[in-house]
Amino acid sequence: MSYKMLDGNTAAAEAIKLARVKVIASYPITPQTVIPETLSEMVESGELNAQYVRVESEHSALSVVTCAAMAGVRASTATASNGLALMHEIVGMTAGNRVPVVMPVVNRGIAAPWTLWCEHVDTMCERDMGWLQFYCQNVQEVLDLTLIAFRVSEDARVLLPSMVCLDGFFLSHSMQKVTLPEQAKVDGFIGEYSNKNVYLDPTDPMFLSDLTGNEEYTEMRYQQKLALDASVRVIEEVFEEFHKEFGRKYELVEGYRTEDADVVLVALGSMCGTAQYVVNKMRAKGQKVGLLKVTVFRPFPAEYIRRLVGDQAVVGVFDRSAGLGGEGGPVWYEVCSALRNKDNQVFHYVGGIGGRDVRVETIENIYNELLAIKAGESDRHTEWIDVKDNALELREVAKNV
């Protein structure tokens, strides 16, 4: 075991190297660029024994990786934002053909407005495509959850791909102290790659992804649904084994000081670190606030939400995407649905989009609103918690009229 200073991108690349991936195809896009750069250097130097396929787009990158895995090797790519949007068609191919690819996604908003910065909308747009989704709080989690994702995805009970989601810049470019596991231990944990379902082999041909009529399509989707359902148990087992082997404990949803909480905030990604700081600060003043950190968003662990939210608690849900046109954002919908048979009030918050920092004050404002609602002192609810007052008077242009 050794320590290293790594940013989130390099940690993702280290995890892919530790998994002994044999084929890499990745197209650079800010803020993910360092992942393919680091991997290509590792391949060039011989540090990683893999074939690096240069491609002309993300659409091709995921196609190469999916087919390489079908042919019998562990394969990986990474993307972000508009790159993931361009992959969308193949995202369905990978999951529907039951190919256990693991892909770090560096969360960034999707244009327009053009942004390079953190937002969860890119992965949230892919949430129903049959992939597992893990969200990381810090750089150590990027490394650990990537290793865990390989193991879960390749489990014969799952056979579905995983996205490991890390916040653009806040994690991808943040240098943190990371514990690096030994190669032999990782080998023992993940094991050799083998095709457990179908495969591409010219000596034993199969036709993969053939046209499927309506007499079988529903059943194939149902197979995927059952695999996602089953993956909850598999993730629990793998988290437990990872804890035993490497000493770090993960949960699908982690309750932070929620036991007696009057108010609970549900969040995911890097903002959870700030939220934990705020919880401690407010608890020290005697305010009973708690946090639910959603590490696994797909499959959505609704049972954990039900178990961890007290019957009397007022709940806030922080979506780092706008949820345009709906009554709330994707995380809020899931939490509402998980709590539909309970009496909790569930309030929706949007913030931290396009790279806006989720500050201590932002989270304090949410907790204070929810505490006032809980105490019956106020019904004020600011859904867009960090929007500026001048939203409709931002820019002026000169027009030739």
């Binding site: 529907g96 053909n97 039951r98 056979l159 379902n197 179908v198 199969m206 036709f207 992804s209 053939d210």
Partner: protein, 91 residues
């Protein structure tokens, strides 16, 4: 001769290609009244999937390959004596 064994697999895959013929898309099939057919070959020339063949020396003089006929109905429309009709496909 190599031996094969059967395995249960998940997702869309085939080692036999039963779904490859387009004939099973057909909802209606062309039916020819051979007694009125003049063997002019208009249907054969217009068929977009090239599945019709005129056999002048046979009583059933229009032979249709139903593995690939999609039942599009072009033949019924172009026939100058209107001896082809579309009937419901029953499988």
């Amino acid at each position: 001769m190599k031996t094969t064994r059967k395995f249960k697999v998940m997702g869309p895959v085939a080692t036999q290609f039963g779904a490859a013929t387009t004939g099973n898309w057909r909802l209606e099939r062309p039916q020819v009244d051979f007694s009125r057919c003049t063997k002019c070959r208009t249907c054969e020339l217009h068929c977009p999937t090239n599945v019709m063949e005129i056999k002048k020396d046979q009583e059933e003089c229009v032979v249709i390959n139903f593995d690939y006929c999609k039942g599009c109905g072009v033949c019924t429309n172009v026939c100058p004596v209107q001896c082809i009709s579309l009937v419901e496909e029953r499988r």
